[in-house]
Amino acid sequence: MTAHQPTSRQFKKNVTAALANENLQRAMRSTQSGFVGKRAKARDALPEFDSLRDAARDLKNHTLAHLDLYLERYETEVKASGGHVHWAETAGDARRIVLDICRAAGAKTVNKGKTMISEEIGLNAHLEENGVRAVETDLGEYIIQLRGEAPSHIIAPAVHVTVPEVDALFRKTHAHLPADRDLSELPTMLAEARAVLRQKYFEADVGVTGANMLIAETGQSVIVTNEGNGDLSQSLPRVHIVLASIEKIVPTLEDAATVLRVLARSATGQEMSVYTTFSRGPRRAEDPDGPEEYHVVLLDNGRTGMLGTEFQDMLRCIRCGACMNHCPVYQAVGGHAYGWVYPGPMGAVLTPSLIGVEEGGQLPNASTFCGRCESVCPMRIPLPKMMRHWREREFEKHLAPAASRYGLRFWGFFAARPALYRRATGLAARALAALGRGRGRFAALPLAGGWTRSRDFPTPAPKTFMQQWKER
């Protein structure tokens, strides 16, 4: 397989393709109500939910303010437990570290629990290029790996794939099974994937997982899953590698509980995900199972550059996916249109931070500023505000498309001259009101095709607000 190169630059082209993709639109429609309704129910069932969000925000702010000290304590604890800590400044460094560990272990196969950091650093392609087979075990990740795709959602990676597509995929991939088998029921499909992957857990030499949190006090890494694949991936192979970015640190066990209390409720509406696992070091001398080696790769990849800037708050993100579940733009175009690893509102802020505003600068424009993302974020991250900051930077760097630059300059000319602005808008309002009298709306307007193609343009009131205000 090849690495997924970012396509965020051609966001508009991606969107056009996504809107015309009937399979994708069908898949997106079927998910819409699920996540939103489940989160609302979970929130309503816990009166303390909003105050827990405040506590979670505060604990992460505290941690980020002292991240160096917590990282040092965390490292000390991991070493004390017999584990190894590797520091990676860039994606390339992280890839090299993981490959070196695999080579030292003589690994041919690596089993993977779900990790977004692995997607961020393009690990699978790198391992394959160097003769190490990487097998995704999260069911959704398994499906998209077979399709040669990147995830389209951070917690539901195959949300864009329909059931008939999975059926066809399994028939093609699991060619050792009878071709005429009945896969019409979903449980049969799940059982087939379970049986195929169960075997692979026992064959892998190395298991790679992500981390939802790293605990400074104890040196533990935490993973949260529903399938149990992350636990089989870390318990059966001889070597366990944890991929984590530096901002995943929380100070104490009690702090971890605060995050857990808002995480699953925001993500899937569960009170707790099925499996929450705290891992510390390799297996003990008396242990009959578990890995003999435990490695943590701590990735920076641009995050320290966000500290102390207007984007620092983004480092509070716990990757629950609530922002994209509630985003009208994400729901219309799906995750792939965003062109890199992190989609939706959190991706629109994170992508330009991590791979540059030149590549990701269009994404912050993919927002109606409706504010739902911020209103549901368990860490109270001001996503719309940060998207606005990116728009400013994109404009300052002359990266915005010519049409919007000239449009803004044209508008700016009038906006800087209030008398002229009022006269011009008054004239336009009168003209439009006269033209649209009786109908109340326009089905087509010159220069407004982008608007009227998908909805009517309402007829404005004959007088502007300022005119009406003066007449009072």
Partner: protein, 215 residues
Amino acid sequence: MSAREAILARVRKAAGGAEGREAAVAARLAGNGPHAPRPAQARSEGAARLELFEAKARAADATVARIATVADLPAALAAELRARNLPATVRTGADPLFVGLDWGAVERTEGVGRLEEPATLSRAEFGLAETGTLALASGPMNPVTLTFLGETHFVALPTADVMAGFEDFWAAWRARGLDPRTLNFVTGPSRSADIGQTLQLGAHGPVALHIFLIG
């Protein structure tokens, strides 16, 4: 400069030279940081606590049975295996709770989880009533692979070990002085909604989770 030093130097620069940072961090790590609000559902007591634990575990698709003493465990397990059409065998660790019992018709083998494992039995260190969650400590007493490879996972939990929520749980956990390779919180059997966004039980871990509450 090593990657470690470079990363830490950038973090330090952003943090600035504010006074008292070390003291603030030490206080938090010593448990003297601010306390997050404790939800009402994490404050249950007595019989209500056990009822809440059961209700929450069932809401997460686990099944729960109460038995009076640990001596009743073999017969209760045998009945469950029969009712579920499973062979009369179970895989466990070396937990003292299991070792001294007369298992009668149930063939109990000790060891780690294997590729095919119809039924496994573990003892949980604690339960958390607020979410119906089990807390298991890995090790020779309860190998971690039994928690994930059993097609049906049975878990024994003395009622005295059911905590109200995370607050009293962490205190009890620290007091017991355990340091396992993994602490596994388990809330219901494994599941996935990755095919067609339809939730199904039994992804990679157990298809069913049955809890014996003892006492």
